[in-house]
């Protein structure tokens, strides 16, 4: 039916958009009007046949006039329908009333025809059935019954009026005379009866047929909507997966799986162009056997389907086993593949690969399915772009680190040489220095020492960045290590007038790690504590082991860390304002190194501090105690 497909366009001159129910109603009403033309014509024609061919006694003029009247009011109805069609606001109610009015007028006309062809004995009486059927199917129940009641009243009224001789009873004499009860009567009676049956059946099936068709259409539409909804959901989910995961293989796997499930196909695969852009290699597959996936190189030069796809066109094959465009027809047959749909994966207007779905039976892919697959493909391409961008970023980051490391390394030797030369000068080995020379050289030496520290820390940082967790781990004794570090720091602490106290477990504390790392960790924390504590202050270090972790607490009574500095203390080169004012030197890398080492060992570091009161660093590292030590009441050896 045309109404359903009429779309609303701005300034459209065609009918406005109608809901399916409305559209149906309009269709019915116009069909009714169409039938009426035929009915009106039939009245006139039959009347003329009856009068002039069969020479029956009927008021043929009046009957023809009724026919004409029907034609006339049908013309009015036609015009009214056209008007209603063009009115967007016309409600279902309006159309129902319109239909009812038509049926009403039809019955009035029919009543007159019945009156002029014999009243209650008229063969045309049956024809009331038709409009009854139409009313019953088209109109709401109450209205239908109302009309039926009206029809009954009309006929009853006519019958009674004729019975009471208020109206004449105009029987068609020829049909009721005994000598004519022969063939003519039989013919007429049967003719009316047969036509009544046929017309009734036509009316009923026509309408119900249409209804059944509409119902099927609705069911199809519903299925269609469900499909579309499911496809939308799939696209939404894959879009989320693409955006939330940098795990490219996982994302591509999700895509092929979704494609297979949503499209109801046998299998799906993604193939990407290799580095030279020559062959298509499998990146993800679902529902395909290993044998099929490793069948050989997919070469777009030899497989026309792929070549076409890579040019940006989706390609569908009905039967891969016999289609010359498919590169491996034999393997397809073995795998049970019949139809294939292949779409390009586009990145910046260039195809980087193909997304294919395979079916087990012949299938004609619809435009919608192709569009859906292309949408999935573009999500795959987006994921690939993300992964590539991320990898590039990583490579840049690594290149940057390597560069910094290399440069730092190169600076080591000249700085060491300079420092040696300053040491020689300072020691007077190149001759006695004047006081001014001494002062200047001391200061230069100190600056050089800072530079040396910076290089040392940068190199350590660089080494940690590139570190693999398995690097050079040994079984350390933490207690001994801490003691060693404390020993090294002792002279400086004394010089600054800071007391360092240790609280360590009695027994050795075995810990598996790279010695360098742990040494640096403890050293940096201890050194910071000492450096930033004024004379007379205290630094305490506590080491303890619990069930599955080791805890190191370094506490000082030093200058503290301001709240606004707290979030930044582990940043590279960050030095809080208060220590800069103090004049104490530092590279700003000490805590960055601590954090990096703690992270490397999957531990945690926690800071608490109060300005002018002191700071406490608590480091916890996961710890595997190793085989349980035997207690005093140990079991006997076997």
């Amino acid at each position: 039916m045309p109404e359903k497909d009429e779309a609303t366009r701005p300034g459209a001159e065609t009918a406005p958009y109608r809901l399916p129910l409305e559209a149906e109603l309009i269709a019915r009403v116009s069909w009714l009007i169409l039938l009426r033309w035929v009915a009106a014509a039939a009245v006139i024609v039959l009347t003329l046949i009856a009068k002039h061919l069969l020479s029956l006694t009927i008021p043929w003029v009046k009957l023809c006039l009724i026919g004409v009247a029907i034609l006339a009011y049908n013309a009015v109805f036609t015009w009214r329908l056209r008007m209603l069609r063009g009115t967007p606001g016309a409600s279902i109610q309006t159309f129902n009333h319109f239909a009812a009015l038509q049926i009403l007028l039809d019955w009035l006309a029919l009543t007159l025809v019945v009156h002029y062809t014999g009243g209650i004995e008229s063969p045309a009486l049956f024809y009331f059935i038709f409009n009854t059927i139409v009313a019953g199917i088209l109109l709401p129940t109450s209205l239908a019954f109302l009309l039926a009641g009206f029809g009954i009243l009309l006929v009853m009224g006519l019958a009674l009026l004729e019975f009471w001789a208020i109206l004449p009873h105009l029987v068609i004499a020829e049909l009721h005379q005994p000598q004519l009860q022969g063939p003519l009567f039989l013919l007429a009676a049967l003719g009316f009866f047969v036509s009544a049956i046929l017309i009734s059946i036509y009316l009923a099936t026509s309408i119900t047929g249409e209804t059944a068709r509409r119902t099927r259409e609705l069911a199809d539409l519903k299925q269609h909507l469900e499909d579309a909804y499911q496809k939308m959901r799939t696209l939404y989910e894959t879009s989320r997966a693409v955006n939330s995961s940098l795990n490219l293989p996982q994302v591509l796997s999700t895509i092929v799986r979704q494609a297979t499930e949503v499209m109801g196909v046998k299998a799906s695969s993604i193939r990407l162009l290799d580095e030279e852009g020559r062959f298509l290699e499998v990146s993800a597959a679902y529902g395909l056997s290993d044998a099929y996936l490793t069948k050989g190189k997919v070469d777009p030069q030899r497989g026309e389907m792929d070549r076409l796809t890579l040019q940006g066109n989706p390609v569908a094959l009905l039967d891969a086993a016999v289609d010359p465009r498919f590169q491996y027809p034999e393997e397809a047959r073995k795998e049970g593949i019949r139809s294939v749909l292949s779409v390009p994966m586009m990145l910046l207007d260039r195809a980087i690969g193909v997304l294919r779905v395979y079916t087990g039976e012949e299938r004609h892919f619809t435009q919608e399915e192709t569009e859906f697959l292309m949408a999935l493909a573009s999500q795959g391409a987006a994921a690939i772009q993300n992964a590539r961008a991320f990898r590039q970023l990583q490579e840049l980051e690594e290149a940057k680190s390597r560069f910094v490391f290399a440069v730092t390394h190169e600076l080591k030797a000249p700085v060491a040489a300079l420092q040696s030369q300053f040491a020689v000068l300072q020691g007077g080995y190149a001759g006695t220095l004047t006081e001014r020379q001494q002062v200047l050289i001391d200061r230069a030496a100190r600056r050089m020492a800072r530079l040396h520290e910076l290089l040392r820390d940068l190199l350590a940082l660089g080494a940690l960045k590139d570190r693999l967790p398995q690097h050079k781990k040994t079984e350390l004794n933490l207690v001994a290590l801490v003691c060693r570090v404390a020993e090294i720091i002792q002279p400086e602490a004394e010089a600054r007038g800071v007391t360092v106290s240790l609280s360590l477990p009695d027994a050795p504390l075995p810990f598996r790690a790279t010695e360098e790392d742990v040494h640096r960790l403890v050293d940096n924390l201890l050194e910071n504590a000492v450096k930033y504590t004024p004379a007379g202050g205290m630094v305490s270090l506590t080491l303890r082991a619990e069930e599955s972790r080791v805890t190191l607490v370094v506490s000082d009574s030093g200058v503290g860390i301001a709240p606004e500095a707290m979030p930044h203390i582990f940043e590279e080169f960050y030095r809080a304002a208060n220590v800069k004012v103090m004049g104490t030197e530092g590279t700003g890398l000490g805590l960055s190194l601590v954090k990096r080492i703690v992270d490397l060992y999957q531990g945690q570091v926690h800071v608490e501090s109060k300005l002018e009161k002191g700071t406490t660093f608590t480091v916890t590292l996961p710890w595997d105690p190793g085989p349980a030590l035997e207690g005093p009441a140990s079991s006997q050896k076997p």
Partner: protein, 124 residues
């Protein structure tokens, strides 16, 4: 020894560094022989018969320092050998130096007092 003075052989590819050590050593009555590569160092060793050897761990050629130490051992060397180590070099904490046939490690940059006190200890 030569002329009553201890002979110290120093091998380092950094000439500036060698000059610094020379100033320190000669001011303290030591004689210094120098070489700028492991190869040259071996030649000097054979000719000078030093009482103590100081060799840089990280020279231009990879592993040349360790190679040199091995060579000395093969020659039946009895003089103490000390290595020079820079910041971040492999020989961290130098706890394993004895296993490598070394008597000790000096950190770069040179600390004159550490150097001198060690020499005084070792060469009596």
């Amino acid at each position: 020894m030569r002329n009553g003075r201890y002979v110290i052989l120093c091998i380092d590819d950094d000439q500036d560094f060698l000059d610094c050590i020379r100033l320190i050593l000669e001011a303290n009555d030591y004689l210094m022989e120098e070489a700028v590569s492991a190869e040259a160092g071996l030649r000097k060793y054979k000719g000078a018969a030093p009482d103590l050897v100081i060799v840089d761990l990280m020279m231009e050629e990879i592993d040349s320092g360790m190679h040199f130490v091995k060579e000395l051992r093969l020659l039946g060397n009895t003089a103490p050998i000390y290595m020079l180590s820079s910041t971040g070099d492999q020989l961290f904490m130098a706890t394993d130096y004895t296993k490598l046939g070394l008597d000790g490690v000096f950190q770069k940059p040179i600390q004159p007092d550490v150097l001198l006190s060690t020499l005084r200890e070792k060469l009596k």
